[in-house]
Assembly symmetry: C2
Homo-oligomer: 389 residues x 2
């Protein structure tokens, strides 16, 4: 997810670009469904628009057509994702578009879900609607990268956030809650949380920091979104009284390894904490698959050193956001990553390449992407993921 | 020194801006003199231009007036620094400007050197020349920040460069020469070297890396500039056969603490290595004062962990350039900084604030400036320096 640039500037058609922007309103709430935006236009001017807000709610096309009313007849429709042609929780959008008598439908990207792929566009064309696809589906695939990741890999898109000192220390003292970044850096954290479907931390972080993990911050809209919060318990379990389970408790859960102590799990459950299990021998990938099965397309992980090292070694990081402050922690402060060198002693091999870097407040914020086909073996599952973007 | 932006865009007058750009040609060679550029114009069009290339060489005004010839009579002159009005190694520029009969002189900034300050402009005005100053001297002060630093602090402007892994390791294994950054990051290093008057490393780096420390790289002009190279010997001395002393030897020297072994110093001298001493109890600041006395206004330090820690603790870093690659070194790799936390365990105190950050190749390059009046005490001598910029 670019933090400093707007991917929609690459969309040549202004009404299709508008549909992209409208679709963004669903970010953070729409999972496990894709983001979709729809614009109904006449003579190049917007008549109505709509977005898909949450699974089970009306599709973007339906919202826009409802808003357009009789104005939909003979109109031009712009939609970011190919309209569905199957009966799911809602009737097919193709039927509705045909019933309204729209003149044309311009589509950002094909639906790769095999249950509808191709069918929607062909059905519309067979019904006499002019159907056109965007020349470049890239921005639309990037917009739904998380959804596509789960479709292909059966696990969520994994974004890791790290607030670091200039010498890359994630904390200033083991076992102490440390404030590293400026208010600018904290605003970035809040934005990342607000735009994520779920946030995950390790049980160790809950022990030390006892974070609430809500999206607070300067933007009103952030406050209205409470991402689902997950505590990954690979070895030890978090305390049932931790703050993450309090506000609001229905959105928090523990992802517990099958090796966890059954009595301790029972204590958590008795305290009203939802527990999701995963097979211990499946490692972090199995935990992420459990997250996907719980309806999560994208997760923001805010790991401590142990979880960070495990995420690198499990090769499951899709994107890394570093927020670096200008102070120094020194070598008594905990290391961020405790695994082996990536590469050899003579030559470093990059696992990540930067795609954006900028200054926010007094911190440097950089978005890094996993290198595809890195000699370290990192990113072996990323080729398709990245080719989608 | 900004790497991504052009400070001259802030100069409203296009001919004065041109003088600024012309002055830049002297960067890296002009020390211990200031950068100066001069444009001779008529009816708003450039007739001739010149810059000050090196101490002892002609001043920018003389170069430009020589090139203008008879075209200087009645012309408008633009010069980045107030023309000198004293007999130094060359006659006063004011006399020459008056003799040529120029109509006006527009000046970027006053000369703060008390031996000429104010005098040049007043002398010209008394001679019937229209004299005008730039509304904002900021860009011109920034251009000569190094020269101003030495004028005020009697030490060079200290820029530190660090090539780091994503987890801020400056090397991958103690005692091994490591390639960390991409070719993009190495190009930045070469540019920093080419634009510096001097480069300094610790004796430990010479032992491990045996660097040549010349400015190689894609830009032809870089190859033409060989900055002076200094090896700081605080505890141990470098080997006389080190490559830094070979090519070309007349530009390299050892800055040796007074506590160094006299026999080992004699061995160095016998091998043709120039040795500059500094009082051991004066620490790094004394070594930098010795550098200034050797005619160095600005120095690029490429420190190993020990020197980096000493530089932070000595509070002498003016600018820090980090070049960060996307690989991880792990906690077995050397730490970059081994001093205490800046701040407390609960809250980091920044020593540096970022002024620019961008992507070069697959590395992130960030320019940091020392925080003025940081609670750590860092930058206590920086208030004037920064107010000059």
């Amino acid at each position: 997810m670019p933090l400093f640039s707007d991917p929609s500037v690459g969309i040549a058609d202004p009404l299709l670009r508008r549909a992209y922007i409208v679709a963004e309103r669903g970010r953070g709430t729409v999972s496990p469904n894709p983001l979709v935006g729809c614009v109904v236009a006449r003579d190049g001017r917007v008549v109505a628009e709509g977005h898909h807000a949450r699974a089970g709610g009306p599709h973007a096309e339906v919202v826009a057509l409802d808003a357009a009313g009789p104005g939909a007849r003979g109109a031009d429709v712009y939609v970011t994702l190919e309209p569905c042609d199957h009966h799911g929780r809602t009737p097919p959008c193709t039927e509705r578009l045909l019933a309204e008598g729209v003149a044309s439908v311009t589509i950002g990207m094909r639906d790769p879900d095999t249950s509808v792929s191709g069918g929607g566009a062909e059905r519309l064309a067979a019904g006499g609607v002019r159907v056109r696809f965007a020349d470049d589906p890239g921005p639309f695939r990037a917009q739904n990268e998380a959804w596509l990741t789960r479709l292909v890999h059966r696990r969520p898109f994994v974004r890791v956030k790290a607030a670091l000192t200039l010498d890359a220390r994630p904390a200033l003292s083991a076992g102490t809650r440390s404030a590293i970044t400026s208010s600018g850096g904290r605003d970035v954290t809040m934005r990342l949380r607000a735009e994520s479907t779920a946030i995950m931390v390790g049980a160790g972080t809950v022990d030390v920091d006892d974070p609430i993990l809500t999206a607070r911050g300067p933007l009103e809209e952030h406050a209205a979104r409470t991402p689902r919060r997950y505590v990954l318990a690979r070895t030890s379990l978090p305390a049932p009284g931790a703050r993450v389970f309090q506000t609001p408790p229905e959105c928090a859960a523990v992802i517990a390894s099958g090796a966890a102590d059954p009595d301790a799990l029972e204590t958590l459950r008795n305290a009203g904490v939802r527990v999701i299990g995963y097979p211990a021998d499946g490692g972090i990938l199995a935990a992420l698959e459990a997250l996907a099965a719980d309806g999560v397309d994208d997760v923001l992980v805010e790991p401590g050193p142990r979880l960070m090292t495990a995420l690198v070694e499990s090769e499951v990081i899709d994107e890394l956001v570093t927020i670096t402050a200008g102070g120094l922690g020194g070598d008594e402060a905990p290391a961020w990553y405790t695994g082996p060198i990536t590469g050899a002693a003579e030559r470093l091999v990059p696992l990540f390449v930067p795609i954006e870097s900028g200054i926010v407040g007094t911190d440097v914020v950089t978005v890094w992407r996993t290198v595809v086909g890195s000699p370290s073996g990192i990113g072996k599952g990323s080729a398709l993921r990245c080719s989608l973007v």
